[in-house]
Amino acid sequence: MSDIQSTTDPARPKSSLRAWFDVRGRSVTTLAFALNRLTGVGLTVYLFLHLAVLSQLLRGPEGWDSFIRIARSPLFLTLDVILLFGVVYHMFNGIRVALVGMGVANKQQKGLFYGLTGIALILFIVGAILIYTK
């Protein structure tokens, strides 16, 4: 950590966790990393909720199919779209984070970010349309 200079700016948070949300002077890739972790926390919460919801299947067709009816409501579909955003963003930005962490494409990481985010955005739009129209 010898190449990290400590802050002398009293307004800048010293905690590295709070630093994620301190957008001043941050590069787009650093903000992307913070959003990657934020979506990761959201997806972790969803994973456990999802496992809990799947227990409805053990209650037989009545339990599951009544849940399905609720899950097809516009509110749930909107939550599905938010979930889809988290999934595709975390997935594609995670590929960039892994590559950069391995020391691959360090100098091209901004281009990598825009390229992968572009793919994620296209998949998100297609997925969101499918969620509302299927």
């Binding site: 950590m1 190449d3 990290i4 200079q5 400590s6 802050t7 002398t8 700016d9 800048r12 905690s15 590295s16 966790l17 630093a19 994620w20 002077g25 590069s27 890739t29 650093t30 990393f33 913070a34 972790r37 990761g40 926390v41 997806l43 972790t44 994973l47 456990f48 496992l51 799947l54 227990s55 299947l57 053990l58 037989g60 067709p61 599951w64 199919d65 399905i68 899950a71 097809r72 579909l77 599905d80 889809l84 999934v87 997935m91 995670g94 590929i95 984070v97 892994a98 950069v100 962490g101 391995m102 360090n106 990481q109 997925g127 499918l130 969620i131 299927k134």
Partner: protein, 131 residues
């Protein structure tokens, strides 16, 4: 330069911190496999099914396929490991004391074990219902 300036990006620092225990590599490996399995999972469950979600009988028929059964169990294991290692990385970034980190490691380990056992139990129970 007076303000905080990091000559490395945050992800490189995070990778460096965890790499010593190979935890970072597990995180990257499970993440890569999850990208494939989760993509297939989303398509199979939400995009090719009429109405966007499988009804009860469709879920049973789906899980009764041995390839799907193994894939879904693999998915639960990899997703849980990847998610909890990610939470651990965030906790480490909060600079906990060694004692607090030990407690967090135990708590995350216990949560992950329960989630994986429950996920496998659920898959086996559904396959039995289907059979």
């Amino acid at each position: 330069m007076e303000n905080t300036v990091s000559r490395r990006s945050m992800e490189q620092m995070a990778a460096k911190r965890d790499r010593s225990g190979s935890v970072w590599l597990i995180q990257a490996f499970t993440g890569l496999l999850l990208a494939i399995i989760l993509g297939a999972h989303m398509i199979a469950h939400h995009f090719i099914v009429e109405g966007g979600l499988r009804d009860y009988q469709q879920v049973l028929d789906y899980v009764n396929n041995p390839v799907i059964f193994v894939t879904e169990i693999t998915f639960v294991i990899f997703a849980t490991v990847h998610a909890l290692l990610g939470i651990r990385a965030i906790i480490i970034d909060m600079r906990p004391s060694p004692g607090a980190l030990r407690v967090a490691n135990w708590a995350l380990g216990a949560l992950g074990t329960v989630a994986i056992i429950y996920g496998v139990y659920l898959a086996v129970a559904l396959q039995r219902l289907a059979g």
